[in-house]
Amino acid sequence: MKKYLVKDLMVPLSEYATVSEGATLLETLLALEKAQEEFQHTRYSHRSVLILDKNKHVIGKLSQLDFLRVLEQENEHIEQINSISKFGFSPKAIIAFQENHRTQSAPIEKTLLTAAKLKVEDFMRSPSEAEYIKESTSLDIAIHQFTTGLHLGLLVTKGKDITGVLRLSDVFAAVFHAMKDSDLKE
């Protein structure tokens, strides 16, 4: 198998979905859609947007899951729904609880309208230390970082700069193809 480094597999920052701070949630999602359309190198599309400050430094990240969480935060019962899990209920019971409270929540259309106008910096996540990886890191180390942190993407650094994003899907594809090639050769 080829000795991959992170920089061999990463998506350069210029090809990734980004928005400037101050963008609304809708503008952020449109930026993601546009980047997905333009990025045709692989079958795997981008799943998050990076938020840049005025100096083009990455200050946060909004994933598809983060977006869905925004919608949930608009649900006034979400705190109750979240807190029930600490009382030792099973997933089935939590679903029963959610269904009971669904009728009391605002309709999803209303939630979407409100959420579209929210500012992205209010919901973006600041990447943790474990979400950064150096360009020169080898693939096996990157794999370990993915599996221990349950991340979908890592921010790739060169010195103090962020140069790209290493996506789980690209790492998976590289490893999968290597396995397939070696099997065919045998």
């Binding site: 109750q80 009382f87 030792g88 019971a93 029963a96 009971n100």
Partner: protein, 473 residues
């Protein structure tokens, strides 16, 4: 009074250290909650009976207005108008059943209170923790007005007003006002006010959470002021009657008491009350113009006013029943507040279970049918339909159920059976089934009880502290 103040600071610090993970500071809540002069004003007292082993040890503590029975050690603590009732502690030689284990009890169990501040708190029952059979400990803990620590070893915790920990070892937890917890064991949890949680792993899990905005009308507690709300107003309005009882040396019962019944000398009973056979009225209970049928009981801090209890009814610690008619075998759980009105009474059918920490507060007549279970906040028929079920229907639950603010999971039959079993046990313990010489319980055993009083230093640095005292047979 320097030492007393130093003791309070020490307790606050110890509790805060235990609750640091929850980022909770008890200081603003309790620093001026009980004025120091109140801590020096009241005598403490203890009971002696031929039925209960006696061993009381008090060291470097204030015990103002508190009551002790059985075996208890208090060290570096402040106990304000609290009841430490050690009449159900395990005895040497008992076998404690826990799952498939039968664990022998090596020595008489004792209640041990260290570095704690208990305000108007009831401590009762025995430790249900198999890891600490002979020691029912309460340490580094603060509990506020009318909390119940019932069979629950407690460490590093804060219990809000009218909260209850029942048969649950509690470590480093915050228990919000009017919350009831019966889960066996909890640690490092922040339980919000008005949470009623009963869990028996692998069997059932019941959770009800009060709407906080409505609960605040009944009980509200924040830094800077004492607990407020309807519960507190209700108790304060009747405080004077207790002051008379506590300041009088010899108190003759104001009503006729059958030989098999017990009316505690520190209870208030007002006309026209009827006490039937095998009735137990505990200290700090308040009965007015009510009928207590055979085998009924009113436990500590209960109020029964203008009501009729047909018989074998349990009014658990802190429950209040006003303008209500209860059929036979009705269980009213801890700190429940049941209030009808003179022209719109509350009727509870026989064999019904009012779960702990239930509020029924009505302005139109309301009838709870026979054999029903009720929980949460009920102010009208619609609330009742949401927050009650027949015991038969509840027993059939075998899939998760969420209804209103209640969620239940597990075996409904097991849940109902455990309540019924406990009700039977309470009636037995209280002597409801006494028959000539058999089935003796608290109602009979507590008839021959003598009370002694003890006092603190009246002046100087030690003002308010009680001297080290050892009371043994």
């Amino acid at each position: 009074m320097k030492e007393l103040e130093g003791l309070l600071d020490r307790i606050i610090q110890r509790v805060n250290i235990n609750l640091r993970e929850l980022e909770f500071d008890v200081n603003p809540l309790v620093q001026n909650l009980i004025p120091p002069n109140q801590m020096t004003k009241f005598y403490a007292f203890y009971g002696i009976t031929p039925h209960h082993p006696l061993n009381l040890q008090f060291k470097h503590s204030n015990l103002a207005g508190s009551y002790f029975l059985g075996k208890c050690r208090v060290t570096n603590s402040l106990l304000y108008k609290s009841d430490i009732r050690g009449d159900e502690l395990k005895k040497k030689g008992d076998l404690f059943q826990y799952h498939n284990f039968e664990i022998p009890v090596n020595r008489d169990e004792e209640i041990e209170i260290d570095d704690s501040f208990l305000i108007k708190t009831l401590v009762h029952n025995f430790s249900h923790d198999p890891e600490t059979l002979e020691k029912f400990f309460i340490r580094d803990t603060i509990s506020i007005h009318y909390a119940n620590i019932h069979g629950s070893p407690t460490d590093g915790s804060f219990l809000g007003p009218f909260s209850t920990v029942d048969l649950t070892t509690t470590r480093d937890c915050l228990i919000g006002a009017f919350s009831y917890i019966q889960t066996g064991e909890i640690s490092h949890m922040n339980i919000k006010p008005g949470t009623v949680w009963i869990r028996y792993p692998e069997e059932f899990n019941f959770l009800y959470r009060y709407p906080v905005d409505r609960l605040n009308n009944y009980i509200y507690f924040a830094a800077g002021t004492p607990p407020q709300g309807i519960f507190i107003d209700f108790v304060e309005d009747r405080k004077e009657a207790f002051q008379r009882i506590f300041s009088t040396v010899d108190v003759e019962p104001s009503v006729s008491v059958p030989d098999s019944a017990s009316l505690d000398r520190y209870s208030v009973v007002k006309p026209k009350t009827h006490i039937s056979a095998n009735v137990l009225v505990a200290q700090r209970a308040y009965i007015q113009n009510s009928w207590l049928g055979k085998g009924a009981n009113a436990q500590e801090n209960c109020y029964i006013i203008n009501s009729r209890l047909e018989g074998f009814d349990i009014t658990a610690h802190g429950a209040k029943i006003i303008e209500a008619d209860l059929g036979k075998n009705v269980f009213v759980g801890f700190n429940s507040f049941l209030r009808g009105r003179p022209e719109s009474r509350l009727t509870i059918g026989q064999d019904s279970i009012i779960m702990p920490h239930t509020i029924i507060d009505i302005r139109k007549s309301l009838t709870i049918p026979d054999s029903h279970i009720v929980w949460g906040l009920v102010t009208n028929q619609q609330d009742l339909e949401e927050n009650s079920m027949s015991l038969e229907a509840f027993s059939k639950i075998d899939a998760p159920l969420s209804r209103g603010n209640m969620t239940f999971e597990g075996n409904g039959l097991s849940f109902v059976a455990s309540f019924k079993e406990r009700i039977q046990h309470i009636l037995e313990e209280n002597g409801a089934f006494f028959n000539e010489n058999s089935n003796e319980g608290h109602a009979q055993k507590n008839q021959n009880i003598s009370f002694n009083t003890i006092q603190p230093y009246p002046k100087g640095d030690k003002k308010g502290l009680y001297p080290t005292i050892s009371i043994q047979p």
